[in-house]
């Protein structure tokens, strides 16, 4: 239980600040595509007897890179991303069934299996979280400038393409880390719901990142408690908690405006 809590909190800590950028740059579908592709990574990991983390990281990285290469080339982005996200998921699901001798619990990868987190998993999750936070902290101002306007960034000597790459890398790491906790189908929820929840209460981007991390960690903890109390699947329960917090935030903002 302690391990599960630590795993959830670590994932939330990494996902939420990155999620702010996903929201600001309108990359939610980008997150989906990367996350769904990870199931293909699971299939490959099992086929080549690699650690799941490595397989998902590599495939998520490939997918995220392909998507950011396509970005800004004049394709209809949402259609293309929809095609890529769901075909990656479908190929992954089909691919898994070809692996002989392994009977795997697909549900664990689709919706997470936080209660089976091992010591090694925990080390991977926190290692990944620290890496993502360090990356975001290091590039924070450059990332923000590039998010506002690419030419503004170039004038200040920042290469917007490099910053996009930093986000791509961070996203792949978060996907690989979060798959054990909430599963591929719900990773995007963990990225964007905490960020959207705290938006009305933040005056600066930094505060939004910080508050989002707090909300994500709180949700992970509360979701775990709730799933234990009601005997519900943990990953979805965590997302339900964030969704409830989002509703509360929306209602509170509405009331404040109305008053």
């Amino acid at each position: 239980m302690t391990r599960a809590t630590l795993a959830g909190v670590g994932t939330g800590l990494a996902a939420a600040p990155l999620g702010c950028f996903v929201v600001w740059r309108r990359m939610a579908y980008f997150g989906d595509a990367t996350a769904h592709a990870a199931i293909l990574g699971v299939a490959l990991s099992l086929a080549f007897s690699l650690p799941i983390f490595i397989g998902t990281l590599v495939i998520a990285l490939v997918m995220a890179t392909v998507v950011s290469l396509i970005t800004g080339r004049g394709y209809a982005m949402d259609t293309l991303l929809g095609v890529m996200a769901h075909s990656a998921l479908a190929f992954g699901l089909v691919g898994v069934t070809f692996i002989e001798g392994v009977r795997i619990d697909l549900m664990a990868y689709l919706f997470g299996d936080i209660l089976s987190v091992s010591r090694v998993d925990l080390a991977v999750i926190w290692g990944g979280a620290v890496l993502v936070l360090a990356l975001l902290g290091w590039r924070w101002s450059a990332l923000l400038t590039a998010t506002l306007n690419p030419d503004l960034a170039r004038a200040a000597g920042i290469d917007p393409k490099r910053e996009q790459l930093v986000l791509t890398l961070a996203l792949a790491v978060v996907v690989a880390v979060a798959i054990k906790v909430v599963g591929v189908l719900l990773i995007t929820a963990l990225l964007i719901i905490p960020a959207a929840t705290v938006r009305p209460f933040a005056a600066t981007p930094e505060r939004m990142g910080l508050l989002a991390a707090l909300v994500a960690m709180l949700s992970a903890w509360a979701g775990l408690q709730a799933s234990y109390a009601f005997d519900t699947p943990t990953g979805p329960t965590i997302v339900c908690v964030t969704a409830l917090l989002f509703s509360l935030s929306t209602v509170a903002t509405g009331l404040r405006r109305g008053a």
Binding site: A142, P150, L152, I158, R199, P205
Partner: protein, 247 residues
């Protein structure tokens, strides 16, 4: 004064099949205000993009003075509604700056005391001045403005260009701007470059306004408008207009 900031030689830019710019030569010196004019699709924004490094030319060279600091004021900055941003935080992008310097920059841009406001809550004129304040904070040797007054009415635009002249006088930076406000911008410039895929004429505002190429592009009427603006411009000097005439 006199330092060459940017030299563009023989620049050609193509997007797919269409040639947007060809054989463009251009020199920008410290301390001068240069205005790019030209009809829609004449390659003005592409030229700025190439100068900033976002557009890769097919041919030609762009040489920047070593270590050149550029301040850039975009035509439009779309802040996503999900991104909270105070003016003060915006002015600290991408470099940390003291609160005192931020106050000074806002004052110089003509919008003192708005540091605590949200960017999204500013009026069009205030927003453009906040962008100008951020550009000033970079201590630019070259200030680049891409139709920075597109959303402003004519008095607002005139007041904005007057600010630019003051900034140039105070800091000695070179200024390159793109503008549609022909008559407003012409008299504020030392040199005007008329662009239409290539440089079709350049010189002082009077020379360009009289050039046959320019008149073919913009019609005879603009010369009259230039005179009209001169009058208007003098007017704002003689009467002590309040700073925020723009808003």
């Amino acid at each position: 004064m006199g330092r060459t900031l940017v030299t563009v030689s023989d620049l050609t830019v193509r997007f797919g099949e269409s040639t947007v710019l060809h054989d463009v030569d251009l020199r920008l010196e410290a301390g001068e205000i240069v205005t790019l004019v030209g009809p829609n699709g004449s390659g003005k924004s592409t030229l700025l993009g190439a100068l900033l490094g976002g557009v890769t030319p097919q041919r030609g060279r762009i040489e920047r003075a070593p270590g050149l600091r550029i301040g850039y004021v975009p035509q439009r900055l779309v802040l996503d509604a999900t991104l909270p941003m105070t003016v003060e935080r915006f002015l600290r992008l991408p470099r940390r700056t003291s609160t005192r310097r931020i106050g000074e920059a806002l004052e110089r841009a003509g919008v003192p005391g708005i540091g605590g406001r949200q960017m999204a809550a500013l009026s069009g004129g205030q927003f453009q001045r906040a962008l100008l304040a951020r550009a000033i904070l970079e201590e630019p040797e070259l200030l680049i403005l891409d139709e920075a007054t597109a959303g402003l009415d004519q008095p607002g635009a005139a007041a904005f260009y007057q600010r630019i002249e003051e900034v140039r006088a105070e800091t000695g930076c070179g200024v390159l701007m793109v503008s549609h406000d022909l008559h407003v911008v012409m008299s504020a410039s030392d040199r005007v470059i008329c662009l239409n895929g290539h440089v079709c004429c350049e010189g002082t505002p009077e020379v360009v306004a009289a050039a046959p190429d320019y008149r073919r592009l913009f019609g005879e009427g603009t010369k009259g408008a230039l005179a009209l603006y001169r009058h208007h411009h003098d007017h704002t000097h003689t009467h002590d207009h309040p700073k925020d005439a723009a808003e």
